[in-house]
C-alpha cells in the first residue's frame, strides 16, 4: 500500500473503487450502493492519506482506527481493505455469499482487521470513544475516525456519544457524517429532518466543520484541522450525493438498498470508465 497526498492519485483510486462497488453489489444481487458511493472520497482520503496504519500489522496498538458506523456501506470499506492489502485480492465479488469474508455488514469474525462489527445503527461513535479513551490512557497517538450516516443520526445514542465526547474532551476522535440526504424510506428531510445538523454538533460541544464530502482537498484540510484541535472532538458534516458517480443512482432513494440489475450494472460501469 502506498500512502499519497496527491489528489490526482487519490481520485484515480476513487474511480476504481466506484467500479468495484457497483460490480460487487451487482454480482451479489443485493446490498446498498447509494451510501457506499457517497462515501468513496471520505474513505479513500482516510485510508490512503490521513490515517496512520500498516496493513502488514493490523494489530499495531498505535494504529489509527476507522469504524464504519453506517455498516450497510460495507462495500466501500471492503474496497479499502482490499486496495490497501488487509484482505487478499480478487474476492470482492464474493460479497454476501455463503462463506465469504465480505459479509453483508462488516463482521470482525471474518475480517479481524475490522475495528468493529457494525450494522446496527447509532453505536459506532460510542465504540470509537472507548477506543479513543484507551488511547488517551495509554499515551498513544492513535486517532479514531467514525463514519455515521445521516439517517443514522436519528438514533438517540449518537447524541449520548456527542455529549460524552465533548464533556470528556476526547480530542482524538473525529465523527464524519455522510450527509447524502437520503435514507431507506426516502429523503431525510421528509422522514425526520436533522436540520440544523452542523449546529446540533456545534451546540453539543464539538469542533464542527461543514464541507463537500466529494472534494478531496477539502477533506484533507478538514482532517488536518481536526488533528490540530485540542480539548474538543471534531465533527465533519460532509455534504455528499447519494449514489455519486452513477447518473441514475444519484439522489435516487431507490438505490439506498437495492442492487442494480445486470443491465443497470453494465450501464453504471460504462459511466464509471
Amino acid at each position: 500500500m502506498k500512502q499519497t497526498k496527491n489528489v490526482a492519485e487519490l481520485q484515480e483510486i476513487t474511480k476504481r473503487v466506484r467500479r468495484n462497488i457497483v460490480q460487487m453489489i451487482g454480482e451479489a444481487k443485493s446490498g446498498h450502493p447509494g451510501g457506499s458511493l457517497s462515501a468513496v472520497e471520505i474513505l479513500t482520503t482516510l485510508y490512503f492519506d490521513v490515517m496512520r496504519h500498516d496493513p502488514s500489522r493490523p494489530d499495531w496498538p498505535d494504529r489509527d482506527r476507522f469504524i464504519l458506523s453506517k455498516g450497510h456501506a460495507a462495500p466501500v470499506l471492503y474496497c479499502m481493505l482490499e486496495e490497501t492489502g488487509y484482505t487478499p485480492p480478487g474476492q470482492l465479488n464474493t460479497l454476501r455469499k455463503l462463506g465469504s469474508i465480505y459479509q453483508g455488514h462488516p463482521d470482525r469474525r471474518f475480517i479481524p482487521a475490522l475495528e468493529a462489527s457494525t450494522g446496527s445503527l447509532g453505536v459506532g461513535p460510542s465504540v470509537g470513544l472507548g477506543m479513543a479513551l484507551a488511547a488517551r490512557l495509554n499515551g498513544s497517538p492513535s486517532r479514531t475516525y467514525v463514519l455515521v450516516g445521516d439517517g443514522e443520526s436519528q438514533e438517540g445514542q449518537i447524541w449520548e456519544a456527542a455529549m460524552f465526547g465533548s464533556y470528556n474532551q476526547v480530542d482524538n476522535i473525529v465523527v464524519i457524517v455522510d450527509y447524502n440526504k437520503i435514507q431507506l424510506d426516502g429523503f431525510v428531510k421528509d422522514i425526520l429532518n436533522l436540520e440544523p445538523l452542523a449546529e446540533k454538533w456545534r451546540s453539543f460541544g464539538w469542533h464542527t466543520l461543514e464541507i463537500n464530502g466529494h472534494d478531496i482537498p477539502a477533506l484533507q484540510a478538514a482532517f488536518a484541522e481536526a488533528a490540530a484541535v485540542k480539548g474538543k472532538p471534531t465533527a465533519i458534516v460532509a455534504h455528499t450525493i447519494k449514489g455519486k458517480g452513477v447518473s441514475f443512482m444519484e439522489n435516487n432513494p431507490k438505490f439506498h438498498g437495492m442492487a442494480p440489475t445486470p443491465a443497470e450494472m453494465q450501464l453504471a460501469l460504462q459511466e464509471l470508465q
Binding site: L129, A134, Q157, F164
Partner: protein
C-alpha cells in the same frame, strides 16, 4: 442423611458491595482494569474504584447504551472494562449494544448488574431486574454469574476479570447471609454442593441459596436428605453436577429470584431432559411484575423464601414417591 456442614448464615455485606471492593483490589493489581458507570456509582459501589483510580473511571451519565458501547471500544483496545449499573438498566437499555458490540464480536467486557431481582424493594418494578438471567444467557459466548454471598462475589469477580470474554455478573442490593469461609475456592462453571442428600436436590442461585439452606435444615429435621447446590455459574451450566443430582436424588427443585420463564430452572430442565429425566419443581417469580414494599415483605409475598422452597420440595417428593 446427615449433612456435613452447618451454616451460621450470619448477615454479611451485599454482593454489590463485595463487587465494589473486589474491583478496587483488581484495580491495584492490573492497570488495564477500567470501570464505567451510569450515575449510580454510589449504589453499585464502583465509586470506590473511581475514588482510588479517577483516570480509569468513566462516569457516563444516564446513558446506558453509550456506556456499553464505550466499554466495547475500551475492550477492543486491550482494556478490561467493568461496566456497571442497576441490572435492569444496563441489561434492558443496553441490550442491543450488548448484542452487537459485545457478544457478536466476543469482546472482553464485564457487565455487572446490581439491584437484581425484587429484593431492591421500595423502588418498585421499574427498577427490578427479573429478566436479566434470561437476557444474559441469550447472548452467545457470554458467561453468566450469580454469586450468593460476599465471599463468592469476591472470588467470582476476580475470576471474571481473569477470563478473556464477555461476562455478566448479577449482584443484589440486600445484605446477604454468609455461606462460605473466606478464601473458599470457586471455579467458573463448577457448581458447589453445599450439603449432601439423596432424597431431593435444590439447585439455587443468588440469594435463594441461603433460603434453600434454611429449607434444607428444616427438612433434615424431618429426616429428608436434601442436596443443596449453589449454581453460581448460570452459563455455562455445570452439567455434571445436574446430571449427578438427577441420577442420585430423582427430584430437583430449582430456586431463583427471577422470572421462572427463561430463568435458571428452564436451563437446568434442558440438562435434566438431556441426561437423566426426573421430577422437577420451580421456585421463582411467576409471570408477573412485583410492587413496592420492604424486601422481606416482597420475597414473602412473591414466594421466594424458605417456606416456598420447602413446599416445592414436598410437591416433588409426592410426585417422586
Amino acid at each position: 442423611m446427615p449433612t456435613k456442614t452447618k451454616f451460621e448464615l450470619k448477615l454479611g455485606m451485599a454482593t454489590r458491595e463485595a463487587f465494589g471492593k473486589a474491583l478496587v483490589e483488581l484495580g491495584r493489581e492490573n492497570p488495564d482494569v477500567v470501570v464505567c458507570d451510569a450515575d449510580l456509582s454510589k449504589s453499585t459501589y464502583t465509586a470506590l474504584f473511581g475514588k482510588e483510580f479517577p483516570d480509569r473511571f468513566f462516569e457516563c451519565g444516564i446513558a446506558e447504551a453509550n456506556m456499553v458501547s464505550i466499554g466495547a471500544g475500551l475492550a477492543s483496545s486491550g482494556k478490561i472494562p467493568f461496566v456497571s449499573s442497576f441490572s435492569c438498566f444496563v441489561m434492558n437499555k443496553g441490550f442491543e449494544q450488548l448484542r452487537v458490540n459485545v457478544a457478536y464480536p466476543g469482546l472482553n467486557v464485564k457487565i455487572v448488574g446490581t439491584h437484581s431481582g425484587i429484593s431492591i424493594g421500595e423502588d418498585g418494578p421499574s427498577q427490578m431486574s427479573i429478566e436479566d438471567i434470561s437476557l444474559a444467557c441469550s447472548l452467545p459466548g457470554f458467561t453468566v454469574l450469580c454469586p450468593a454471598d460476599e465471599v463468592a462475589t469476591f472470588a467470582l469477580v476476580r475470576a471474571a476479570a481473569a477470563l478473556n470474554g464477555p461476562v455478566f455478573v448479577r449482584a443484589g442490593r440486600m445484605k446477604a447471609p454468609i455461606l462460605y469461609q473466606p478464601g473458599h475456592d470457586f471455579a467458573i462453571g463448577k457448581a458447589v454442593e453445599l450439603t449432601e442428600g439423596t432424597d431431593v436436590t435444590i439447585i439455587a442461585t443468588g440469594l435463594m441459596v441461603s433460603e434453600s439452606i434454611r429449607a434444607q435444615e428444616a427438612l433434615e429435621s424431618e429426616g429428608i436428605g436434601v442436596r443443596v447446590i449453589d449454581m453460581h455459574t448460570i452459563k455455562p451450566l455445570d452439567r455434571d453436577a445436574i446430571a449427578r443430582a438427577a441420577k442420585d436424588t430423582g427430584a430437583i427443585v430449582v430456586a431463583e429470584e427471577h422470572l421462572v420463564d427463561g430463568g435458571l430452572g428452564v436451563r437446568v430442565s434442558q440438562v435434566v431432559a438431556e441426561t437423566h429425566p426426573c421430577i422437577m419443581e420451580f421456585v421463582g417469580i411467576e409471570n408477573t411484575y412485583a410492587e413496592s414494599g420492604a424486601p422481606e415483605q416482597l420475597l414473602d409475598k412473591y414466594g421466594l423464601v424458605a417456606r416456598d422452597v420447602i413446599a416445592a420440595v414436598r410437591r416433588a417428593l409426592v410426585r417422586k414417591n
